[in-house]
């Protein structure tokens, strides 16, 4: 029972990372595809400004998911990190390069320097979600077991590849939808159109890949396939499909707040659908939630810590996202770091 609660918390943390972090990775994807320095100048400017205040916070969701995993389900953590060694190691390297590339691009002046850091940021934004998706594909198709060691098959298989591509497409969708809304906020309607067009493309890719995924998982990950087509899993699949339609409809008009909500709805319900489809397994057909759960007292404390933290952290995060979407937050410019700057910049 308590293990089930913690499993749900873990699933929600993964969903939060997929949405928060995914938006960031998506922004990186569009940075990569924005074209040359001149053509891509305005989209890149928007990407920098939109991501700036919140990307570290988005990254913390990942750490939280890892902590719940090793405290709540130590055996799962051990098996996943042993079997999925290579994709997870590469994802970690990608995270370093990506964060550093973004953080360092900002203070660098010269075009060549910005190009280098920008390229590092963009390429790793593409690779990291792919490897995470591949690792999840390995779990969903039951390739992670107590006895398997790190092997290529564990993550280079149809389900993993498909989940990897699906992650890239989903992050691209989120990124484009959020950037389109940001463009409107920053008073750049041309960029709103620019990113809404791209959001359409990415969403179409998600839809196609999702349909393909249903066929592939039928043979390759039968337990998850069954879960996705029956019961609670099916409900969330339907929610994801409806959210997709709503997003499409909202994308045909100038962006408002709602397109973000529906886009997040697509990704979050897809993740939750996957989690529900796996029930009662952490790893289909070899490790159930009850078998993988850590000590009972620890789980109770974990829930308590989560609740206390929610009380503390939730208002702070809500405040941050609110301030960010209302344009209350902006970086210091060089002028304010000069000695003759006004003492009170506000």
């Amino acid at each position: 029972m308590i293990a089930g609660v913690v499993a749900v918390v873990l699933l929600l943390a993964i969903a939060a990372y997929a949405c928060g972090g995914g938006t960031d990775y998506g922004a990186g994807f569009w940075d990569l595809t924005a074209g040359g320095a001149e053509r891509g100048k305005r989209p890149r400017w928007l990407i920098d400004h939109a991501m700036e205040p919140v990307w570290e916070v988005n990254n913390v969701w990942l750490i939280f998911a890892l902590v719940i995993m090793w405290t709540g389900f130590p055996v799962l953590f051990q098996q996943v990190f042993t079997t999925m060694w290579l994709p997870l190691a590469l994802a970690a390297v990608g995270i370093v390069l990506r964060g550093a590339g973004f953080a360092l691009r900002e203070p660098v002046r010269r075009l060549s320097g910005r190009r280098l850091y920008g390229a590092v940021f963009a390429v790793s934004s593409l690779l990291t979600p792919f490897f995470f998706g591949a690792a999840i594909g390995g779990v969903a198709s039951g390739r992670v077991t107590a006895t398997t060691t790190a092997s290529t098959d564990a993550w280079a298989n149809p389900t993993s590849l498909l989940f990897g591509l699906l992650s890239i497409a989903a992050t691209a969708t989120l990124g484009a939808v959020f950037l389109a809304a940001d463009a409107r906020r920053f008073g750049a309607p041309d960029l709103d159109r620019y990113f809404r067009r791209r959001a359409f493309g990415a969403l179409a890719a998600v839809a196609v890949l999702a349909v393909v995924a249903l066929f592939v998982t039928h043979g390759d990950a039968p337990h998850v396939w069954h879960g996705l087509t029956h019961g609670v899993g099916l409900v969330f699949v339907i929610v994801a499909a409806l959210a997709t339609l709503a997003t499409v409809w909202l994308l045909t008009r100038p962006s408002g707040h709602w397109s973000r909500v529906t886009a997040v709805g697509v990704v979050a319900s897809a993740i939750i659908a996957w989690g529900m489809a796996q029930r009662p397994y952490l790893i289909p057909a070899s490790l159930t939630v009850a078998e993988g759960a850590g000590a009972h007292t620890t789980l109770r404390w974990l829930v308590l810590v989560t609740v206390v933290a929610l009380v503390l952290v939730f208002p702070a995060v809500a405040l941050l996202y609110w301030m960010d979407t209302h344009g209350e937050l902006e970086g210091l410019t060089d002028a304010e770091l000069r000695r003759d700057a006004p003492s009170d910049p506000s």
């Binding site: 990254n59 890892l66 405290t71 997870l88 370093v96 920053f186 007292t297 702070a316 770091l337 003492s343």
Partner: protein, 480 residues
């Protein structure tokens, strides 16, 4: 002979895994003092500036927060790598003990979460938030940092003095008592020693920048303030750290006697133990080199020359650090204590002069010392960490799990390749970090040299093709 047998038992993965963990930690630790304490120091400066309407103080606070932005970002990613490494390198430890000691990381995760949120608000709030609100929003920041440190140190001290569980017949932990697992015997001393170390280090590092400027002749109010505030902060905590450091050494003596034996290269358990400053322990138990002070080790450990000090040979060779490891631990311990003592002298020099004469020392030697104090204290932090971690060898969980049992089964060749990749990536990241910091410095220095208010059209446009200025202020359309 015996050593050879021991080495054969250790899987080939151990060396690359330990090297990689050590490398990523050494580099991450450089950023930690600033992450924990720079927000506090900046807030002190910020508060001072607000209270006295001091434009220079506010400028310093703004510039420090610009540094904080870059430093925190790099710290987030190198910290994320560490949490991945728990799984990638030590799956055996997390699989068996994750539910016993992992909760500390949960607290850390949330502390860190809060810190990331508050830092984002603080860094990006300079422009639009009202001055008072901006300052008040940032006030919980140091507490969030302390909460984060709480989690990490809880986990590390559990690895040093594990408890809060019983082992079943198969050797798996049962009856987990989370409270006992978090508040382990060494937790209190380790936590305060760590926190104060972070305060002292961040203070000296920040002050060192301005001490260098002072030595170069930039003796204006800007440098004076930039030096005084962080240096005073660090100088106040230095004697505190001296007492705390002395106390934790004695706690280690009581709670991890074998580690203490390694720190002081004690071979055979005995009373009237001499203290060695540096020196080298040989496999046969003899010590060469170093300065020997009779009786002192026993006196330091128990205040009396007849205090019995446990030696390394009190446990079988397979359960204690090797003599090479012991020598390393001894050296890092001595270097840390040595640096701490020098810093104490520097802090006393500053404090005494301030109390008697109400002025800064004039001697260039003081400022030379202060300029080096930053690097020295980072070195001391690294040494302290090596002492804790290498002194615990061969255990990953003291007396309960060996490093060799915890290591991943991934082929050692893959680990070496990944280690090489990590080194390349880190050299790139930290090199860039340094370049960015130096660039910021020279840009500010250039701007300061021009000095004085000037009309906006004189802004050197040619220099700014890629800043955000040409795009127009972000505020256009961002407010309803």
């Amino acid at each position: 002979m015996h050593t050879v047998l021991l080495l054969a038992d250790v899987p080939a993965q151990t060396l690359p895994a330990r090297s990689m963990m050590a490398f990523t930690l050494v580099t991450h630790i450089i950023l930690v003092p600033l992450g924990v304490a720079l927000p506090l120091i900046t807030l002190i400066m910020h508060g001072y500036g607000l209270r006295h309407g001091d434009a220079t103080a506010l400028l310093l606070a703004r510039r420090w927060s610009a540094v904080m932005a870059v430093q925190f970002a790099i710290g987030v990613v190198t910290g994320t790598v560490l949490s991945f490494e728990f799984g990638l390198l030590w799956p055996g430890m997390m699989g068996r003990w994750g539910d016993v000691f992992g909760l500390g990381f949960g607290v850390e995760g949330w502390g860190f979460f809060l810190e990331a949120v508050l830092i984002a608000v603080y860094l990006y709030g300079w422009r639009r938030l009202p001055a008072r609100t901006h300052f008040l929003v940032a006030l919980p920041l140091p507490f969030a940092a302390l909460l984060g440190a709480f989690g990490i140190i809880a986990a590390n001290s559990w690895m040093n003095t594990p408890r809060g569980f019983t082992l079943d017949a198969a050797g798996n932990p049962v009856d987990v008592d989370v409270r006992r697992a978090i508040f382990t015997p060494i937790f209190g001393p380790e936590y305060w020693h760590f926190v104060v170390a972070m305060f002292v280090t961040a203070g000296y590092v920040t002050a060192g920048v301005y001490a260098k400027g002072w030595l170069r002749g930039r003796r204006d109010r800007y440098h004076r303030l930039g030096f005084t505030v962080p240096f005073t902060f660090a100088a106040v905590f230095t004697p505190v750290q001296f007492v705390l450091g002395d106390s934790i050494a004695r706690q280690v003596f009581h709670k991890q006697p074998v580690k203490f034996a390694a720190m002081e290269i004690v071979w055979k358990t005995n009373t009237h133990m001499p203290e060695y400053l540096l020196g080298r322990l040989h496999p046969d138990g003899t010590v060469s080199g170093g300065i020997k002070i009779p009786q002192l080790d026993s006196i330091l450990a128990g205040f009396r020359p007849d205090t019995k000090v446990t030696g390394l040979t009190a446990v079988p060779a397979s359960d204690r650090p090797t003599t090479a490891q012991a020598t390393l631990v001894h050296w890092t311990f001595d270097i840390m204590v040595g640096i701490g003592s020098l810093l104490l002298l520097l802090a006393l020099w500053y404090g005494v002069l301030w109390l008697w004469r109400r002025r800064l020392p004039v001697s260039p030697w003081f400022f030379r010392g202060a300029a080096c104090a930053g690097v020295a204290s980072v070195l001391a932090v690294e040494c302290g960490w090596i002492t804790t971690e290498v002194g615990r060898q061969p255990w990953i969980v003291y007396q309960n799990m060996r490093v060799a049992e915890a290591v991943t089964a991934t082929r050692s060749a893959s680990l070496w390749i990944m280690f090489a990749l990590v080194i390349v990536v880190y050299v790139f990241v930290f090199g860039s970090f340094l370049v960015v910091l130096l660039k910021m410095r020279s840009r500010w220095r250039l701007a300061d040299a021009k000095g004085g208010p000037r009309p906006p059209e004189e802004t050197p446009q040619a220099e700014l093709p890629e800043t955000d200025t040409p795009y127009g202020p972000r505020s256009t359309g961002s407010r309803p």
